[in-house]
């Protein structure tokens, strides 16, 4: 990856809170226009990493360069090119939607002539035009999150960082938020921290698995999924499961793994062509057969368990 393409470069980043090591020598490059997902268990260091990138926290060691600017030397420049949406949008409650966006636009130094058109554009993007004159304290959590996105975009930043943007939202609202993010893909460099693997799978160009302050794995969602399991997981319920069945199945060359979960065999196979030999081993005792594609959930659980 040439340095010209890299928008965000994280190098040797470490941060501890007292005796807790939140980040441990984190290294990562994010390309211009890329949407990178960061997934990991609670306390993995996701929020710490993005707070450092936003110059809210200071690292103990290491540096982040955003568009060539260092967090140590040019924090104000970095702040001006980043739009940050924290886990909770945390907006000033007494403002009206339009006034809030105007207030932040002025603080970010958006030229006066550009403010109103920009606000109209953003309200339309997040579907809030009809609530522009309503106060924030009358908004539901989903509407606040939409306003949070509009606020983060008010100065038209090159880099956008979302921290758990759909946390606690209903499926329909979550999907709307994902659609907003999807619309921004390509134009902006984005980081998306999330607990929802399907969200990362659906939106991200690459996904980094963060655990205990270190990147455990990184790659496209397809790459990660293929790395953890085979192509397919076969779920078979049988009558009278026996140890001899398990021995016979694991002896098959195409079987990569077998687990017994709730009386069902969960068998990882290299390819769909290998389903038939497995069924043959169990014969007439088979009650039901399901196939399942590996998901990032499986990747996440597998990585965290390791």
């Amino acid at each position: 990856m040439s340095s010209r393409q890299v928008m965000i470069n994280i190098e040797g980043l470490s941060k501890s809170f007292g005796k807790i090591q939140a980040l441990d020598n984190l290294n990562l490059d994010i390309k211009k226009g890329e949407l990178l997902g960061i997934i990991g268990p609670n306390g993995a260091g996701k929020t710490t990493a993005i707070r450092i990138a936003c110059c809210i926290l200071q690292p103990d060691q290491g540096d982040i360069r955003v568009d060539g600017y260092s967090i140590h030397h040019d924090p104000l420049k970095i702040k001006s090119i980043i739009g940050y949406l924290p886990e909770e949008p945390n907006l000033y409650e007494r403002f009206k939607a339009r006034d809030l966006l105007k207030y932040f636009a002025e603080l970010y130094g958006v030229p006066t002539a550009d403010i109103n058109p920009r606000i109209d554009e953003l309200l339309e993007l997040v579907g809030m035009t009809h609530r522009a004159e309503d106060r924030i304290n009358t908004f539901s959590k989903g509407l606040r999150q939409r306003m949070g996105i509009a606020r983060a975009l008010v100065h038209d930043p090159d880099v956008i960082i979302f921290d758990e943007p759909t946390m606690g939202l209903d499926p329909a609202t979550s999907q709307k938020i994902r659609n907003f993010i999807h619309q921004l893909k390509g134009d902006k460099t984005m980081i998306l921290c999330t607990h929802y693997m399907d969200e990362a799978d659906q939106l991200c160009d690459r996904v980094a698995l963060l655990d205990q302050g270190r990147i455990r794995d990184i790659g496209t969602p397809d790459y990660l999924k293929s790395k953890i399991h085979g192509d397919v997981i076969l779920q078979i319920q049988v009558q009278d499961p026996q140890q001899s069945d398990q021995d016979a199945i694991t002896a098959l060359p195409s079987v990569e793994g077998l687990e017994v979960v709730g009386g069902k065999y969960h068998i990882s196979l290299k390819s769909r062509e290998e389903i038939s030999p497995v069924i043959d081993v169990l014969g007439r005792r088979v009650i039901s057969v399901n196939t399942k594609e590996p998901t990032l959930d499986d990747v996440f659980i597998s990585t965290v368990e390791d």
């Binding site: 809170f17 707070r51 809210i56 104000l76 702040k79 945390n90 409650e93």
Partner: protein, 365 residues
């Protein structure tokens, strides 16, 4: 123990030895104009330091606080007594001076002692001329009594400074409120330094205070309170708001929530009121240039119409400036630290040592 006691006893008995008993030696200075020396020789030197003087210089010294009183005995006192004529003495005292009671008592005692030594006819002639006291002293006073000054000046000064203590909540809400509402995270992600945030919020509060003080002064002037030099009085009060807001921002930057900040403000405001009012009260009892360190003293002197030396004004303004620089410096430093804002917050002692450079930040035990 016996040896120690004997040493003390020896010291007490020694002519120039140490004394552990309370002494009034040199308690007050009294300028005396007594050419005949009849009275001045009998004034108690253990209590009063007698200084021979004349009318003009003595009154000038009394005005400047260099002496505690001026006692005038007519130059022909001996002749008057011999001729059986009345003798009128005059004692000048400053009513601001709490020592005046002791001086009055000493002069009265001297008069009584002298009266006893004279013939009854002389004594009667002296007493018949005294309109104000039984002991033959005609007392003249200058200045207002201390209680009256406290009521008039101190209360007015307190009224003027009162608005400065009404806006602590505004400072707390603008800084601690950001932490409690968690809007601080967004604020800190914006292209501003910690200094921008702290000073921006402080300026807003100081401007609000300035407006309140202006309204307050208009009301006081309208109510007939004597406020001379209103412009510079206003400036002094408003400038005093700077370090008060600065100290409040230190508490706000460190406090985790409103409750902590409220407790911190209660204690710090006691300290601030002490700094303001103690030098003022000290100045009323005994004028001293050092008392001008308190802007409240300066303000009182300004609205009383006193002539103030530039050095006194400079002292007060320098104090305001230094305290402001220190307080804003500390609060900006605190607000720049992510552990103070987001936690885990270091203890006050550790933080103090780190700010003083005596301990390295983040060093584990």
């Amino acid at each position: 123990m016996i040896v120690v006691f004997n040493s003390f006893a020896a010291n007490l008995e020694a002519e120039k030895g140490l004394s552990i008993t309370p002494s009034l030696t040199g308690f007050a200075t009294l300028d005396v104009e007594d050419q005949g020396g009849l009275f001045s020789k009998r004034l108690n030197p253990e209590i009063l330091t007698i200084r021979n003087s004349t009318y003009e210089p003595a009154l000038a010294r009394l005005e400047k606080g260099l002496t505690n009183g001026f006692f005038v005995v007519p130059s022909d006192s001996v002749t008057l007594i011999q001729n059986n004529d009345s003798l009128a003495t005059v004692l000048y005292l400053d009513y601001r001076d709490p020592k005046r009671s002791v001086i009055r008592q000493e002069v009265n005692n001297t008069n009584q002692a002298l009266s006893s030594a004279l013939t009854s006819s002389y004594l009667e002639s002296i007493k018949s001329q005294n309109n104000t006291t039984n002991t033959g002293v005609n007392e003249k006073t200058s200045g207002e009594s201390l209680p009256l000054q406290i009521v008039r000046k101190v209360m007015l000064a307190v009224l003027l400074f009162l608005p400065l203590f009404l806006f602590g909540n505004l400072v707390i809400d603008s800084i601690v409120g950001e932490k409690e509402r968690k809007t601080g995270e967004i604020l800190m992600a914006m292209p501003f330094t910690s200094a921008d945030i702290i000073l921006g919020k402080s300026v807003a509060v100081v401007l609000t205070m300035a407006l309140q003080v202006a309204m307050w002064m208009i009301i006081l002037l309208g109510a007939g309170f004597p406020l001379k030099n209103a412009g510079i009085v206003y400036l002094t009060v408003v400038l005093t708001a700077l370090p008060i807001v600065g100290l409040t921002t230190i508490i706000a930057a460190y406090a985790k929530n409103y409750k902590e900040a409220g407790i911190g403000i209660s204690f710090s405001y006691i300290f601030i009121v002490g700094i303001l009012i103690v030098p003022l009260l000290g100045y009323l009892s005994r004028p001293s240039p050092a008392a001008n360190i308190s802007p409240m003293t300066l303000t009182m002197r300004l609205f009383s119409g006193e002539t103030i030396a530039p050095g006194d004004i400079l002292l007060s303004f320098a104090f305001i400036l230094i305290l402001s620089l220190i307080s804003y410096g500390i609060s900006i430093k605190l607000f720049s630290r992510d552990d103070v804002v987001f936690g885990p917050r270091p203890g006050i002692m550790r933080l103090t040592l780190e700010l003083m450079g005596l301990k390295k930040r983040g060093a584990l035990k």
